[in-house]
């Protein structure tokens, strides 16, 4: 493709149907419809690569969910054993499935989905060096991206709206603080190992009641966070661990996620694979840090891949907190239609939460979502 612009990406239509009336004042109860544009432009010549991926969602209900972002807009120079990148980009770190603890470079685009896997484009200068003994990445991150939160019309919020217009920063430079990160990653036989450090503006804010007590203000502290992610791959087993220590957001705390995935290949003499996943979450953060629903939780799930021409795949799971009564159920399924279309299904249910438990504000936000996308 050298010398010509490669265009890909998708346009999608999506609807969410909530099975119960809204809990919080101001929220609407009728189904939500969205239009999503996600074109991708790439250009490659010799050792240079350019990428441009704008993103736009138009939402029928929540003005905070209707938003525009530039997911990628970078220039990459790739030499034999090193790379330099300048621009907006997305970086993923980590190995576990039900929580992405170590992954910190990009801000979560929290109005997109509850799974934390949608990210805002992060301005960066990065250098990668490949060595016999592993890969080193260094990042300078000028320009902080605030987390997106649902607006007053939107679901998935507590009684008080998060006032994204009044974010507060620990740094006197506010969102202009330049953050830094570094990562080492490599594999040793069956072990894949990552070690990372981040210094700068925390991605998940503390939520602080404003003066009149009508809204919550996001407060972004300066933190140091060291993380590690480890995967051991043996036969059909994947053993996974992620852990962090964060200093600077209230009292220093540690958090970890660990578990396994075991896959039964070609079950019942068919082409299908079934995987069983379990992950345990521990989070030692104190009340003075950002809220987290993962203090002591177990996730268990089943993954089905039919390995058919349409790449049909299903993931079903639930999360429980042994010390609480709440349970979160999640079902995700997708299938290609023809060569260029894809249908995607999501169902998420919050049950049994008592007042004070983390999913209690969401107890009426059970929903079913269908997305139909045209890829090009």
């Amino acid at each position: 493709m050298a010398g010509e612009i490669d265009i890909s990406g998708f346009v999608g239509a999506e609807t969410r149907v909530f099975t119960q009336s809204a809990k919080q004042p101001g929220q609407e109860s009728n189904p939500e419809a969205s239009l999503i544009l996600n074109p991708e432009f790439r250009y490659k010549k010799d050792s240079h690569q350019f990428s441009f991926i704008p993103f736009y969602r138009l939402d029928s209900r929540d003005h905070e969910r209707s938003h525009f972002d530039i997911r990628e807009a970078y220039w990459l120079y790739a030499a034999d054993d090193w790379e330099f990148l300048a621009g907006l980009n997305k970086i993923f770190w980590g190995v576990t499935e039900s929580r992405h603890l170590v992954d910190i470079i990009n801000q979560t685009d929290a109005v997109e989905d509850l799974d934390g896997e949608d990210k805002l484009g992060q301005p960066m200068l990065s250098v990668t060096k490949y060595n016999d003994w592993g890969q080193l990445d260094f990042y300078a991150l000028p320009g902080f991206r605030e987390r997106t939160f649902p607006g007053s019309d939107g679901r998935f919020r507590g009684p008080l709206v998060i006032d994204t217009d009044n974010a507060r920063y620990e740094s006197s430079q506010d969102e202009k603080h330049v953050d830094f990160a570094a990562r080492y990653s490599h594999y040793f036989g069956d072990w894949d190992v990552g070690l990372s450090h981040f210094y700068g503006t925390v991605r998940e804010p503390r939520l602080v009641l404003n003066g009149p007590g009508t809204k919550l203000e996001p407060h972004y502290d300066i933190i140091n966070q060291t993380g590690t992610d480890i995967q051991y791959t043996k036969d059909a087993w994947l053993w996974k661990f992620e852990g962090i220590v964060r200093e600077g957001q209230g009292e220093t705390f540690a958090a970890a996620t660990g578990g396994f995935e075991y896959t039964f290949y070609q079950v019942f003499d068919s082409a299908a694979d079934i995987g069983a996943l379990t992950e345990y979450h521990y989070d030692g953060r104190h009340a003075d840090a950002a809220p987290s629903g993962f203090d002591n939780d177990v996730f268990a799930g089943v993954r089905l891949a039919l390995n058919d021409i349409q790449d049909t795949a299903v993931l079903a799971g639930f999360s429980i907190d042994p010390d609480a009564s709440e349970t979160f159920y999640n079902l995700e399924a997708e299938r290609r239609i023809g060569d260029n279309y894809e249908i995607e299904f999501r169902a998420r249910f919050f049950t049994g939460a008592d007042p004070g438990e983390s999913s209690f504000p969401l107890e009426k936000d059970d929903y079913i979502q269908i997305r139909f996308a045209r890829y090009f």
Partner: protein, 266 residues
């Protein structure tokens, strides 16, 4: 007395050595020698890139296709496996998805999958040798188990194949988790390339037949088939692989086959 024994032994040994090439080459040795000559005809290709179109036919004659690019790095040591990256171009929803493999001979291969939507590199289990590759009639092992040391061999017979003569070699996977009890391969006597392979399932029944056509010779006596036709004899489905645009000696090294480069592989 004790002095004479080694002398006697060496006479016996010499007799045996002289006799072996003429009379006592076992079918196993002959099979291995023919397979090794075929495998080694590929030596020195260095590295390659190629475009592939995969056309999947179901039993009702409907077809669907996908396109991908493959980069391969030859690891000259026969005790080690080659390294490769496969990047999908279509169908559009999986465009940019990439699979990195570091092949081993008898140990499981190391494999990483790159998922472009999340920009995530995942180490994956490689025990799924017999699973279908992207819904096709090719199993993962049909692509990854191409190393000489992955099989034991046995010469079966000689017979015409097209306008050439072929040696028929039975090969049995030595690696774990194969879906095959054995394979029969037809290797021509002229340029020593594989022309046909029959795959037998774990029960010993004929499962698939692979035909390799449109061989072309590149610099250095490197031969490549440009049309693979795999037919599943049990389901009636088939898959064609059509290769084009082979390029050799691109100057790749091991840094081009690290998991970190998958993000820019497309």
């Amino acid at each position: 007395m004790t002095r004479q024994f080694p002398k006697l032994l060496s006479i016996v040994a010499l007799t045996v050595l002289l006799a072996v090439p003429a009379f006592a080459e076992t079918p196993e040795e002959k099979g291995f020698a023919i397979a090794a000559r075929s495998d080694r005809s590929d030596r020195g290709f260095g590295d390659s890139t190629v475009d592939m179109k995969m056309v999947l036919h179901n039993a009702h004659g409907q077809e669907t296709s996908r396109t991908l690019k493959t980069k391969t790095l030859e690891i000259p040591d026969e005790e080690l496996g080659d390294k490769s990256v496969v990047v999908f171009d279509s169908p559009a929803d999986i465009s940019g998805t990439a699979l990195l493999s570091h092949a081993h001979i008898l140990d499981p291969d190391d494999q990483w999958l790159y998922l472009p939507a999340l920009k995530r590199v995942k180490r994956i289990s490689s025990v799924n040798k017999s699973g279908p590759f992207v819904g096709s009639e090719f199993a993962f092992e049909d692509f990854t188990a191409l190393e000489l040391g992955k099989y034991s061999y046995k010469y079966v017979k000689e017979e015409p194949c097209g306008d050439m003569n072929c040696d028929v070699i039975e090969r049995t996977p030595k690696y774990e988790h194969s879906g095959y009890s054995k394979q029969m391969s037809w290797i021509d006597q002229k340029v020593h390339q594989v022309r046909k392979v029959e795959f037998y399932d774990r029960r010993g029944d004929l499962l698939k037949v692979l035909g390799l056509k449109d061989y072309q010779e590149y610099d250095g006596g490197i031969w490549r088939s440009h049309t693979f036709h795999m037919e599943n004899k049990q389901t009636g489905k088939s898959t064609d692989l059509i290769y084009s645009n082979y390029k050799f000696k691109n100057g790749f090294d091991e840094n081009d086959f690290e998991k970190g480069v998958l993000k820019r592989a497309r």
